[in-house]
Amino acid sequence: MPVRQQIAIIATTLLLSFNSYAATEVVVENAWVRTAPPSARVLAAYMDITNHSGQPRYLISASSPQFKSVELHQTSMNDGMMHMTPVDAVTLEKGKTIHIEPGGYHFMLMGPKQRIHRGDKITLKLGFKNGEAVTVEADVKDSRDEPGQTASHQHHH
C-alpha cells in the first residue's frame, strides 16, 4: 500500500474518531420531508435539533445535493394571514431542542434535481457559525406521525 494512501487512511480514521466525539454536541432527530406531488418544485423538511454543547450554536446554512437550493424559512401567523419569511440564522441555546415543524420553521427545498417519491432519502447538510457541519438523512413521508419510519440518521463531517 503506498505511503500516501496509508496517510490518507490514518487521517480519515483520526477525523472520524474526532467527529464521533463531536457528534454528541448537536443532535438531529426525526428528520423528514413531506411528500409532495411528483412534479412539485418546492418541498419542506422538518426535524428536531438539540444542542448538547456548553455554548449556543447558530444554524446559518443548509444545502442538499438533491436540490438546487435550500433555505430556512419561518411561517408566522398574523390575524389568520400566513407569512413566510427567510431566516438568516437560528439560535440553538445550550441544552435546548428546536423543533423545525409544520407551521413554524421549515427548510424550504427548492428545485429538485430529480423526482422525489415517498420512501426516498434526502441528504441535508446543516452549517453552523462555528464551522461545524451536520449531515442529516431525512425520510420522505406523509407526516411525522406516519408509522414505520421513525429513525433518522446523521453523521458529522
Binding site: R34, T35, A36, P37, P38, S39, A40, R41, V42, L43, A44, H73, T75, M77, G80, M81, M82, H83, M84, P102, G103, H106, M108, L109, M110, D142, S143
Partner: protein
C-alpha cells in the same frame, strides 16, 4: 267586558301573525357559539358568494351554482406553498376520511382555491390536488374572478417577489372556510388546524344551521 274581548282578540291576532311569520320567514338564528374550541369564527348573517366564472382542475367551468345543494369546505392557497397549504390540506384529507368512515360526509365538497393563477393552471392543480385526495376539487381561473371570490369571503393575500419569476411567495390568509348549501359563507376555521377541531366545528355548524 267589551275591553276584555278586544284584548283577547288582539292577543289572538298577534299570536297568529307570529306563527305565520315563523312559518314563512325563516329568520337568522342566534350565532352558534364555540366556547370549547378556539379559532372558530361564525359569519352571522351568512355572506352570499358572488357570481363567479372559474375553472376546476379538469378545466370545467365553475359558477355559483356549483356551490349550491351541499356543504363545502374550502382552503385558499397555492401549489408552490411548501408548509402551510400541505399541512392544512393533509388535515382536510383526514377530516374527509373521518367523515366518510362515520357516514357523516353528506356530499361535502372539498375545495382548494388557487391564489396563484400565474403558476396554477388546471393541469398543475390537478396533479397537486389529486395527490391529496382524488375527490378534492382544485379551482383556478382569471385573477379578477379569484379576487372577486376571495374578497367576498375575506381571504386576503399578497405576492412577495416578481410574479414573472418562478420563485415568488404568496402570503395568504389560511383559514378553512365553511360554505352552506345556499352558497353562503358560514364560518372561518382559523389555523392551526387539527382533525378534531375541523371535524367537530364542521359537524356542529351543519347540525345547527341545517341542510
Amino acid at each position: 267586558m267589551k275591553t276584555k274581548r278586544t284584548l283577547v282578540l288582539i292577543s289572538f291576532l298577534l299570536l297568529s301573525i307570529s306563527i305565520a311569520a315563523g312559518l314563512f320567514w325563516r329568520g337568522e338564528p342566534a350565532p352558534l357559539e364555540f366556547t370549547d374550541i378556539k379559532g372558530i369564527s361564525i359569519i352571522s348573517p351568512p355572506v352570499s358568494l358572488p357570481d363567479i366564472n372559474l375553472k376546476d382542475h379538469n378545466g370545467k367551468r365553475i359558477t355559483l351554482d356549483d356551490f349550491k345543494g351541499h356543504w363545502s369546505m374550502a382552503f385558499f392557497g397555492y401549489t408552490h406553498c411548501p408548509d402551510v397549504c400541505p399541512t392544512s390540506l393533509a388535515v382536510m384529507k383526514r377530516v374527509a376520511t373521518k367523515l366518510r368512515k362515520e357516514g357523516q360526509e353528506r356530499d361535502t365538497h372539498y375545495l382548494f382555491v388557487s391564489l396563484d393563477p400565474f403558476r396554477d393552471t388546471p393541469e398543475v392543480l390537478k396533479e397537486y390536488i389529486t395527490f391529496f385526495d382524488p375527490d378534492f376539487i382544485g379551482i383556478t381561473g382569471d385573477k379578477t374572478e379569484i379576487d372577486k371570490l376571495s374578497e367576498r369571503v375575506g381571504v386576503i393575500y399578497d405576492y412577495e417577489g416578481d410574479v414573472r419569476d418562478e420563485d415568488f411567495i404568496v402570503n395568504h390568509y389560511a383559514a378553512i372556510l365553511i360554505i352552506d348549501p345556499d352558497a353562503r359563507l358560514r364560518a372561518h376555521i382559523l389555523p392551526p388546524h387539527s382533525v378534531e377541531k375541523v371535524s367537530t366545528a364542521f359537524n356542529r355548524i351543519r347540525d345547527y344551521y341545517g341542510d
